[in-house]
């Protein structure tokens, strides 16, 4: 851009000089941008020394005409910190074996067991090509890939769009397929097998994988000169190894709530690795309404999701874009989320009860509510647009019903999660 504009401006001035006319603005304006670059730097930090993620995302779009474009995106994530293991606090010191099976760590009495051996870097890449198909249709296709230390994702997707009614209505259908391979540290645990002592990998197996297929059908409808509504339905199916290989459950005494002894000679209490079904089917209904005022605009969206694990969730998001001036804007953002627990979610397992076929103490499958409050500020300069977004995320789970026995009654079994989101953005054209 720094190279092209002065040259364009000089050519325009030279031409005008030759013709003896005043400089004409359209000469410069006709220089269509070659590449649009969008970059974001994200800091996501949870309280209590839990997860911290620093992520850089860079997208490049080359538009060849109104309907033809190439999109490339690169994301690099760096994750550190500790994450809940699924075990519950106890009134005694608890000892756990690390996922690799090569070491152990202890958690003080009364503390929430966190696995702090987690450190990862993720690199993700995607590329999409979009092109017209006849007068009123467009198609796009692309691939995505991401790699982590213990995880590899490869996916393809395609989408077809058609306009109707003077482009007041656009219908679309999309399909995505991916295969994800997992190579967990120390091996993928055998579901419901007990945690073993250091050096004993008899509860671990090798690698595993899962396939994901998504179908998306939607309509974007212009409601009026100012309003637009998008409604979509999506169906997603996952098959394969759907466990989180680093999550397990405490097995406790049904009266005292205290941990019970683990395998003989292990020196550990009894913790069993989680067991989720090997398939999951999700359905979502999504709607977003966008409205333009004379100066400002707003958007509200809603999502309802249900799956065959017994989870139902609802999400509402709203944002109001206050265009303070031609160059500056401020956008307050709100989000509310609620979900029911999965049928097999168990905060703990009790000694003596029949072992269920499926069980997980992953707080993300619990009955929970979450809120996000944030704001984004943007400012356009002659060269591009920068923005900063601040967000506060709070999540609270209700996971104590029927399990707060004995010692457990005095503990916060699933502590609330609070996170801060800081995002810097810069968009420019080359």
């Amino acid at each position: 851009m720094q190279l092209k504009k002065p040259i364009g401006g000089s050519l325009a001035a030279a031409t005008c000089g030759l013709l003896g006319a005043l400089p004409a603005a359209p000469v410069v304006a006709q220089e269509a941008p070659r590449w649009e670059i969008d970059s974001s730097l994200l800091y996501y930090g949870e309280d209590g020394e839990r997860v911290t993620d620093v992520s850089l995302m860079v997208s490049a779009r080359r538009a060849f005409d109104e309907d033809r474009a190439l999109d490339l995106t690169l994301t690099v994530d760096s994750l550190t910190g500790a994450t809940p293991s699924g075990a519950v606090p106890a009134s005694t010191v608890q000892t756990f074996t690390t996922p690799s099976g090569k070491d152990s760590y202890t958690v003080a009495a009364g503390d929430a067991p966190l696995d702090d051996s987690f450190l990862d870097t993720r690199v993700a890449l995607s590329a999409h090509w979009r092109a017209p198909l006849g007068e009123s249709m467009r198609w796009s296709a692309g691939f995505s890939a991401s790699s982590e230390y213990d995880y590899l994702h490869l996916g393809v997707d395609g989408r077809l769009e058609r306009d109707f009614n003077l482009k007041n209505t656009t219908a679309y259908v999309g399909v995505a397929y991916s295969q994800d391979d997992m190579d967990p540290v120390g091996g993928a645990p055998i579901p419901l097998a007990p945690m073993r002592e250091v050096g004993n990998l008899s509860s671990k197996a090798g690698n595993d994988s899962k396939d994901l297929t998504d179908v998306l059908v939607g309509v974007t409808q212009v409601l009026s000169r100012r309003s637009l509504l998008e409604v979509s339905y999506s169906y997603g199916s996952s098959d394969g190894y759907l466990n989180d290989p680093y999550k397990f459950l405490s097995v406790v005494d049904p009266v005292s709530g205290a941990p019970v002894p683990g395998p003989a000679g292990s020196g550990l209490d009894l913790y069993v690795y989680e067991s989720r079904p090997d398939s999951r089917t999700k359905q979502s209904l999504f709607a977003e309404w966008r409205h333009a005022f004379d100066r400002d605009s707003m958007a509200v969206n809603f999502r309802y999701m249900t799956d065959d694990w017994g989870i139902e969730s609802a999400t509402v998001e709203a944002r109001y874009r206050w265009n303070i001036s031609d160059r500056s804007w401020l956008e307050p953002q709100l989000r509310w989320y609620t979900q029911d627990a999965a049928d097999f979610y168990r905060t703990v397992l009790f000694e003596g009860e029949a072992l269920p076929r499926h069980a997980s103490a992953d707080y993300r499958l619990a009955d929970l509510d979450a809120w996000t409050v944030g704001a984004k500020y943007g400012h356009r300069t002659d060269h591009g647009e920068f923005s900063v977004r601040l967000g506060y995320y709070r999540q609270e789970a209700d996971a104590t019903a029927g399990v707060a026995v004995g010692d457990l009654a005095g503990f916060d079994l699933v502590p609330p999660l609070t996170a801060v989101i800081v995002q810097f953005g810069y968009k420019f054209q080359l």
Binding site: S144, E148, L212, V222, S284, A287, Y304, R364, L365
Partner: protein
């Protein structure tokens, strides 16, 4: 949750009946940059919430693509 589901279907039905044809030269407001969804915000939000909640997708593909903790 059932009441919520009924409300959603009611809203969809009502809005589907409320459409008017807007001519191409009347698209000035809808073409404004602030009326377009921000792809980076959406991708970052999807990644965060996919890692912390049991739901994903809706706006786009539910996907996977990470062994998020």
């Amino acid at each position: 949750m059932t009441a919520l589901r009924n409300l959603v279907f009611l809203v969809f039905a009502a809005t589907a009946a409320a459409c008017t044809t807007v001519q191409p030269w009347e698209r000035d407001l809808q073409a404004r940059a602030d009326m377009q969804p921000d792809a980076h915000d959406a991708a970052i939000d999807d990644h965060i919430y996919f890692s912390k909640e049991a739901s994903s997708g809706g706006r786009g593909f539910a996907g996977g693509g990470c062994g998020c903790n």
